[in-house]
Amino acid sequence: MSFSQLKETIEEGDTVILYLNPLNLHSIEVKPEIPNKHDELVDNVFQTKYGALKIKGLIGQKFGSKVSLSKGWAYVLHPTPELWTLTLPHRTQIIYSADISMIIFQLDLKPGCIVIESGTGSGSLTHALARTVSPNGTVHTFDFHKQRAAIAEAEFAGHKIDSVVKSYHRDVCQLGFGPDLDSLADAVFLDLPLPWTVVPHAVKVIKKSGGRFCSFSPCIEQVKRTCEALHDSGFREIQTMECLQRELTVRSRTVPILHPDKEEESEEKMTFTSALPQPTVPGHTGYLTFATLPPN
């Protein structure tokens, strides 16, 4: 029950996050033995920058405790959608936590909601959606790439969020979301190249009592077409925004105090703490377009 329910102790089958430092994180499935190339079961050993970790040794450990590696140590952390986003295997571009946070907030999601997502991609957003609508809501997630849909579905099962997430292999631009979901959704989220073609399908699946819509698009041309389609389909409160999160690096600095009338560099110093963003930071992820479909 690793993603869906918070727990204290690591058990076989859990996913854990190995924390070496903030930039060196790995997600590991706790399988004590794995087959080697001769198909014999051998001890599962995970290699890190600071040496090897025997997976078997994790079982029974507490989340949040220190474990030794052959050349150092690391922390084992409870998985969260945010840590998963940082460690997941990329099969597509993914959405990161700042945008994910805004998407969840602006879609008015809470436990019990039904949300429809397409495309599933690497499942980065899906994990956060699942957390928000659980335990009694559902995420219906669609991707037209067969292999991606299948891998994502297996991951959701491995992370024990498959009671909340239903995966579908389907082209939603062409076919919509299917009749089974008509008038069921509280919210629809799109991250695919032609979102405006899906807007009429979104209208069909949103509840009669109304609901929210979001599309994430990297390009402004996509945004324009989507906004037009939303307007034509009766959406209100159409709003486009961009949100970025910047990490501040904190350092203690010391600089000499300049005395303009003295020749030699002064011994006198002043010390301060600086908090600056990295010299280069992501300046664009995608435009988020939100809208409300009022009750009809």
């Binding site: 918070l6 949040g64 335990p135 999160q245 990490e247 703490t273």
Partner: protein
């Protein structure tokens, strides 16, 4: 979600959001409720029982100029259909604004209004008397009409409050009163603390009108637990009230005074929490020399030069700028203070009870006093009275809950410098769970960052700020909006871990 209760209808006693053009206002709907929108007084009696999102038209009440009632109308007619498709200019070369392009005087316009002319008619007249309107390009005709629409628009839509709309209204009304907590930062708090609906969270909130409390309750949906700690006298709950929570949502909610909670939770420590006598400043002064953790972190101060000792002042000054006010305290704010008719108050919402009319929210734990039993002064806490009052039971419950299993996350949003509070509460957080601290200022949170970096029981200490930019999206005129919010505050996040070394 199959709401057992009908959530689509406008009901007496509930909070609603009134939207007129771009303007939004939170209001509690009472019997004979009236609301001021700008200079207009609007009678809301007629909206009860209608569906949310219904369009209402403002019509003059007989014999009064600035009083309106609302009648249902099909669809808000837009002024934009007044655009002159036939006569229009291609550019502005012939438009010369000498201040005389409008032939009607302001006085004449007001008279029209006071005579009860509809906005549509007024703008029609304005156009007729404009020398330049027809020379304007279609775009500037549109722009002109949009501007007039804002001024003369007389349609109102009633929305059901939700956390998104409430956060937006409170922030745009006066960011200072929600500690500059912008919606993007607010949304990041929820994800950063890994808010699982079934989890158990510890929150200290002071200074943003209950916004974070409302967000957490919203995301728990009645499943997990929120242990909400509030400073001595104040429990700001405007946002919580505005959410119209059902009893089910509130079942998750335990709200206790910080000092009572700490005293019970850590009985053997000599924690002093500043009382009302300290005046305005609510800085929490925990002095505890028995506590090794406090000592170690208290003594280390690589960044002392930055802020050493100034936090106190900072706090006080802040108080002066934006005087603490109860959430229901309104003169010009967006909150209605009308008393609820007790007969219509949902019986379930026990914690709203007392304070509806108390303008000065000298909250006597109003949340917890429902049976008229007055809270004793907190110094009697340990006297083990034979019959415990409700607030004591709440404290017991909070302490019980955290004594068996620790919290799944800690959120601190306040005006104060919270290091001592963090040193306390961190011990109540389970390993591998996150803490999030919000500050509207960079300097104190940088100092906090430095202090936390020295602790052995937190890792991944991270400081972030966020950037939010809105766009105008229109055919051939798409660009970022001219004004943007310059700061949405700062977030510090970290993960609590076991301070013990690994077993060899």
């Amino acid at each position: 979600m199959e709401p057992s209760q009908d959530q689509s209808t406008i009901k007496l006693g509930e909070y609603i959001v009134l939207q007129k053009g771009n303007f939004m206002k939170i209001h509690q709907l009472s019997k004979n409720s009236c609301v001021m929108l700008g200079r207009d007084k609007i009678d809301l009696t007629s909206i009860i029982g209608h569906k949310f999102w219904t369009n209402f038209k403002m019509v003059h009440k007989k014999g009064s100029k600035r009083e309106f009632e609302l009648i249902v109308c099909d669809k808000s007619e837009s002024l934009l259909n007044l655009i002159d498709k036939d006569v229009r200019g291609t550019d502005n070369r012939d438009i010369w604004d000498d201040g005389s392009s409008q032939l009607m005087s302001a006085d004449e316009i007001f008279k029209l209004r006071d005579r009860g002319c509809s906005g549509q008619d007024i703008v029609g007249q304005l156009l007729e008397n404009s020398k330049t309107f027809h020379c304007k390009t279609e775009y500037s005709q549109q722009k002109y009409l949009k501007k007039k629409e804002k001024k003369y628009f007389e349609y109102v839509v009633v929305l059901r409050p939700n956390i998104r709309v409430i956060a937006q209204i409170l922030f745009s009304k006066d960011p200072q009163k929600v500690l500059n907590l912008r919606s993007d930062t607010l949304s990041q708090i929820v994800t950063a603390v890994n808010l699982q609906p079934t989890g158990k969270y510890l929150l200290y909130e002071n200074g943003c009108q209950g916004l974070v409390t409302a967000v957490v309750l919203n995301h728990l949906g009645g499943n997990g637990r929120l242990i909400h700690l509030y400073p001595n006298l104040h429990y700001q709950k405007h946002a919580v009230l505005a959410m119209n929570f059902q009893q089910k949502d509130l079942d998750s909610f335990i709200s206790v005074r910080l000092s009572s909670f700490l005293k019970k939770m850590f009985p053997d420590s000599s924690c002093k929490v500043s009382g009302p006598s300290v005046g305005n400043c609510k800085l929490i002064a925990c002095e505890n020399s028995n506590d090794p953790q406090l000592e170690s972190s208290g003594g280390l101060s690589s960044s002392e030069v930055i802020n050493g000792g100034n936090t106190h002042e900072c706090c006080e000054r802040d108080e002066d700028i934006s005087p603490r006010r109860g959430c229901l305290n309104t003169d010009d704010t967006e909150v209605s203070t009308e008393e609820i008719d007790p007969a219509h108050e949902p019986p379930t919402r026990q914690f709203i009870e007392t304070s509806q009319s108390s303008q000065e929210q000298k909250l006597e734990d109003s949340a917890l006093i429902s049976d008229g039993c007055k809270r004793k002064s907190s110094t009697d806490d340990n006297d083990a009275p034979s019959k415990k009052s409700k607030w004591e039971l709440e404290v017991d419950k909070a302490v019980d809950i955290l004594s068996t299993v620790k919290a799944d996350g800690l959120i601190i949003i306040c005006k104060e410098y919270p290091i001592h509070l963090i040193n306390r509460l961190i011990k109540l957080v389970a390993f591998s769970r996150n803490m999030v601290v919000y500050s509207m200022y960079q300097e104190p949170i940088v100092k906090l960052f430095c202090e936390l970096k020295l602790r052995k029981d937190v890792i991944g200490v991270k400081l972030t700020e966020s950037f939010l930019r809105n766009y105008q999206v229109l055919p051939d005129r798409t660009h970022p909006e001219i004004n943007m919010s310059s700061s949405g505050g700062f977030l510090l996040t970290a993960t609590v871990v076991s301070p013990e070394d690994c077993p060899s």
